[in-house]
């Protein structure tokens, strides 16, 4: 076909994306036309409802596998799976924001619009095997988040986070784009699936420029998933950004980056597995070690969770290293579980904060078990799941990821992984220790209680227990999603 005219039916397939865009534009209008305080709550509720409707329409895409818009965009189970993760994250973050954004006075039409645009970018990023679409998705997502990070205008840390993320992010994006350009330059192909065909036909294929291009892709994606040594931004940005946005970044952005990473590498670059898996092996190991060991020294929970999120990227990379396409579903499952544990944990962090201050020091958690047993219990479940203790979902996730490594006979990688999880157990348990074993020092004041937080925590707790005890359905879904690479 010479002329690229999309068939009108193609638009049916991107209904979720269209809906998100429409909602986001509506919020922008509302934000622009009215005074903020009065409409913030309404926007939040509409955003939540809009997300639920979008989830409904996304669910209907399950099972469809086709290329649309002349191969620029793809609908497949893999993309749909990730879309669902993003939308669930969006729904939970919106629920939390209903109260949190009000408290911090950042809630407005734009806030929710940016959240939705961010998710739009993530969805585009993970449902295309065309480098240009992937890049556009990544940029839409990143630009939204650069702004969201700096929303706490009066807070110098927030502004720092935004600027830091923007500068470093721009660099990483340049790397990514450069990598794509080099691959295009050496092969003349910009579509991942076509690229795979090309490479398989030309086996063995090893142009220097192409190999450098792969390296640049790893750098670019490595930045977004917060792997060492491209992680320097993570702690500062996670700590400085509004906590709801931190939760959003730690889960949504990470999942999106992994989604695109897995798609590119498991489709086009699988013939080069021996080459890049060695690099990724090394990155996985240092990511886990640096993340966990540095987290040991943190006394600020937000910062600790930032380092723990680096470490978790390392665990997921364990499975990524193996290149085992059957067990790649472990990464999808892990990302799903990880989203619930992290949003849950950050919700508790939000509840302990007050306007203008996070109160995320370890000492604020002292005696929480006695003062607020329910919140402490939920936090314990999130922490234990992060530590990978059965029967919670975090355990099944680790189990699955490690089984990928063992199956591919990466024994040392698996051993390093489990030893790291012991180190990690220490700092997760330390929070529990503060909650249950220490007496609270002085008056801790009231904590920010609201039914929305309770709902989010209950959803997360339920998800972790359900996915931990009856993982079967979720694992099969993840396996189906990954089967497109088969």
């Amino acid at each position: 076909m010479d002329v690229a005219i999309p068939a009108s039916s193609d638009f049916n397939w991107i209904l979720p994306e269209i809906m998100l865009t429409a909602w986001a534009l509506l919020f922008l209008l509302i934000g622009g036309l009215t005074r903020r305080a009065s409409t913030s709550k309404a926007c939040g509720i509409m955003c939540f409802i809009g997300t639920l409707i979008t989830i409904f329409y996304t669910l209907r895409l399950w099972g469809a596998n086709l290329d649309i818009f002349n191969g620029l965009y793809t609908i497949d189970d893999y993309g749909t799976f990730f879309k669902l993760i993003f939308l669930i994250v969006l729904a939970l973050v919106t629920l939390v924001s209903l109260r949190y954004a009000d408290r911090e006075e950042i809630g407005s039409g734009e806030y929710y619009a940016l959240l939705m645009f961010g998710v739009l970018g993530m969805m585009v990023m993970t449902s295309s095997h065309h480098f240009i679409s992937i890049f556009i998705g990544l940029e839409v997502m990143s630009l939204s988040i650069y702004v969201l990070c700096g929303l706490l205008k009066g807070n110098i840390r927030s502004v720092e986070a935004s600027l830091k993320y923007f500068l470093l992010g721009a660099f990483a994006t340049a790397f990514l784009l450069y990598g794509m350009a080099m691959i295009y330059g050496s092969t003349g192909i910009i579509d991942v699936v076509e690229l795979k065909k090309f490479i398989l036909a030309k086996q063995p294929f090893s142009a220097t420029m192409f190999v450098i291009g792969i390296g640049f892709l790893i750098v670019g994606f490595g930045f977004k998933i917060a792997s060492v040594p491209f992680h320097m931004w993570t702690p500062d940005v996670y700590q400085g950004a509004p906590t709801s946005i931190t939760a959003y970044m730690a889960t949504g952005v990470k999942a999106a980056a992994f989604g695109a990473l897995i798609r590119v590498f498991y489709t086009a670059l699988i013939p080069f597995l021996p080459g890049w898996s060695e690099i990724v092996w090394f990155i996985a190991v240092i990511t886990m070690c640096v993340g966990n060991i540095t987290a040991l020294a943190q006394r600020d929970i937000k910062r600790m969770l930032a380092y723990s999120s680096i470490a978790h990227a390392g665990y997921i990379l364990i499975a990524f290293t193996t290149g085992d396409r059957e067990l790649a579903s472990s990464m999808l499952y892990y990302l799903m579980v990880y989203s619930f544990m992290n949003i849950g944990a950050f919700t508790v962090v939000i509840m302990l904060g007050r306007k203008g201050e996070d109160n995320s020091d370890l000492d604020s958690y002292a005696g929480l078990g006695a003062r607020h047993p329910f919140i402490a219990l939920c936090m314990s479940i999130f922490l234990l799941s992060l530590a990978g203790i059965p029967p919670l979902a975090g355990f099944i996730g680790k189990f699955y990821v490690l089984s990928a490594a063992v199956k591919a006979q990466y024994y040392w990688l698996a051993v390093i992984g489990v030893l790291n999880s012991v180190v990690a157990a220490f700092y997760y348990l330390r929070v529990m220790m503060y909650m249950y074993f220490k007496e609270s020092a002085g008056d801790q004041g009231t904590i920010d209680k609201a039914p929305q937080y309770g709902l989010v925590m209950l959803v997360c707790v339920w998800a972790l227990l359900h996915m931990g005890i009856f993982p079967k359905t979720f694992l099969l879904i993840a396996q189906k999603a990954i089967s497109i690479f088969g």
């Binding site: 203790i389 059965p390 189990f399 089984s403 006979q409 040392w412 012991v422 157990a425 074993f437």
Partner: protein, 521 residues
């Protein structure tokens, strides 16, 4: 419906959990109700477990009371539980000691009573689950689940250095178990590679034939995990801290049941799964066991703190168990299992004794006591009987176990037997010396003059312990006949399996070794 078709083991596993969940909804101010409620639950649990003993078919070689259901068939994970003569007695020990622990916490725990009993019931669920699980994933889940309640028990209701002890306990045990976890996965994929079947079912995995070199790695990972739990020398250092800081009931359950999980793990998993490696490890394990026996005894002698003394005596006693298990003859293994039960009762009893004295004096230093026998005659009697059982005086349960272990050890290797026997002497030395310093002599401290003797509840607790000390001492047959067949079956299985590996051509193993190394990345 016959008795066998009632899911009695599942009931035993989940009934305490149900109790814990119900307790969540009880008002915390209602502390008396919480205590009675937990006591009733643990008594029902005990009552349900007793028929197991009598309904157990002691002639059957297979697992009994088996329940099997698919959990995740695509991966070969099943809900598969069952017991044989070995785990039967440990399950009973668990349900019995839980009742004792609830009773002995009656007055000792005043803080956060509700959480305490919830934790305890969850711990019971995890312990029984670990003993019954015959699926490696299920086993691992319960095994890890045991950690959290115990961590909380030590960390919340423990002594002054509880946080250090709790974290040390957690990290030690977890470090061991995660390595076991890798070995489980490696075994699983190896079995799939050779047979084409995904399964975590232990009984099926027993049949796997694994190259000897691989076995070393697998056995090493399993053994490390279990050795930490036992604990064997030199990975025992967490135990004295954990014991010293834990509340009385925590110490009782830790000594009584949790340590047995290590030795049980050897019996059920490490040895039968990897027999060739286990047989090659006999010298190493036996030497470590003997070091543990002697070292534990010598260090005990020097302890100023009663609880620390008993903790180190545990290291010594568990050394006997390991020595017996690795003698690989019927006397040694049976003695080892019997000693596991004995240790639960005698050492558990000693911790109870220390707990009672601590409640009165708020000190555990031996130097703070002396001459108590005159003030507390009833207490002194019980203390004496339990001490003697710990020393293994003929007529008490300890004698039967230690005698058989030493018999087994002499039969397999006289050197270990001789060395281990010195531990018996040292054991008598430190226990009797401790007893003398605490109970006899003149009263040196004024505070000790007006100590109250035991109350009814305490007498009830200690009498039930003494009952088993005597019963197991004079009529061991009652217990041995339950495990005779299982132990004989276990021994003949591991020996046959080991012999089978020995007859493999040497070249095959070498080839496997080369193959194995080249595949490791």
């Amino acid at each position: 419906m016959t008795v066998m078709s009632i899911p009695i083991l599942s009931f035993l596993i989940y009934f305490p959990l149900l109790g814990a969940i119900l307790l969540l909804f009880v008002n915390r101010k209602n502390s008396q109700f919480i205590k009675v409620f937990t006591l009733v639950f643990s008594l029902v649990e005990l009552a349900v477990s007793i028929p197991l003993f009598f309904k157990f078919d002691e002639t059957a070689k297979t697992m009994q009371f088996v329940e099997k259901a698919q959990w995740f068939p695509e991966w070969g994970i099943s809900y598969f539980i069952g017991i044989d003569g070995i785990s039967l007695l440990l399950v009973l020990l668990t349900t019995f000691l839980t009742v004792i622990c609830v009773l002995c916490s009656w007055k000792a725990i005043e803080d956060r009573i509700k959480e305490y009993y919830i934790t305890f019931l969850i711990l019971e669920t995890a312990m029984i689950g670990t003993l019954c699980a015959l699926d490696l994933v299920l086993f691992y889940i319960f095994w890890e689940l045991m950690l959290i309640p115990m961590y909380l028990l030590i960390g919340i209701w423990g002594g002054p250095r509880r946080i250090y002890a709790a974290i040390k306990f957690f990290l030690f045990t977890m470090a061991g178990s995660v390595l076991m976890f890798i070995a489980i996965l490696a075994l699983y994929f190896y079995y799939y590679k050779t047979t084409g079947v995904y399964t975590f079912n232990v009984l099926e995995l027993y049949q796997a034939s694994i190259p000897v070199v691989k076995q070393y790695w697998f056995f090493g990972a399993f053994a490390l995990s279990f050795a930490i739990k036992v604990p064997m020398f030199p990975v025992h250092t967490w135990l004295p801290d954990a014991h010293t800081e834990a509340p009385t009931a925590g110490s009782v359950i830790l000594a009584g049941v949790l340590l047995k999980m290590g030795t049980y793990g050897f019996l059920r998993f490490a040895v039968p799964l990897f027999p060739a490696a286990a047989f090659d490890a006999i010298p190493l394990m036996s030497i470590l066991a003997v070091i543990g026996i002697i070292y534990g005894a010598i260090v005990s002698m020097m302890q100023p703190d009663l609880k620390r003394l008993i903790a180190f005596s545990s290291v010594s006693h568990l050394g006997y168990v390991m020595l017996g298990l690795f003698a690989f003859n019927i006397q040694g293994v049976q003695g080892g299992i019997y000693q596991m039960l004995n240790h639960g009762i005698s050492t558990g009893g000693l911790f109870l004794i220390v707990g009672m004295i601590y409640e009165r004096r708020h000190t555990r230093m031996i130097a703070d006591f002396g001459g108590l026998a005159k003030v507390m005659p009833v207490f002194a009697t019980f203390f004496m009987i339990i001490t003697l059982s710990s020393i293994a005086l003929p007529g008490t349960n300890g004698f039967v176990g230690e005698f058989l272990i030493l018999l087994g050890a002499f039969k397999s290797n006289a050197v270990y037997g001789v060395l281990a026997t010195t531990g018996v002497i040292l054991g008598a030395v430190y226990m009797l010396w401790m007893f003398q310093r605490v109970m006899f002599g003149v009263i040196t401290k004024e505070e000790n003059r007006n100590l109250k003797d035991l109350g009814k509840r305490e007498i009830l607790i200690l009498s039930s312990m003494v009952f088993f000390i005597i019963l197991m001492g004079v009529y061991p047959k009652m217990f041995f006949k339950k495990m005779d067949v299982s132990v004989a079956e276990y021994l003949s299985f591991v020996k046959a399996k080991n012999a089978q590996y020995r007859t493999l051509p040497q070249g095959a193993t070498e080839a496997a070794k080369v193959n194995d190394l080249s595949n490791t990345k």
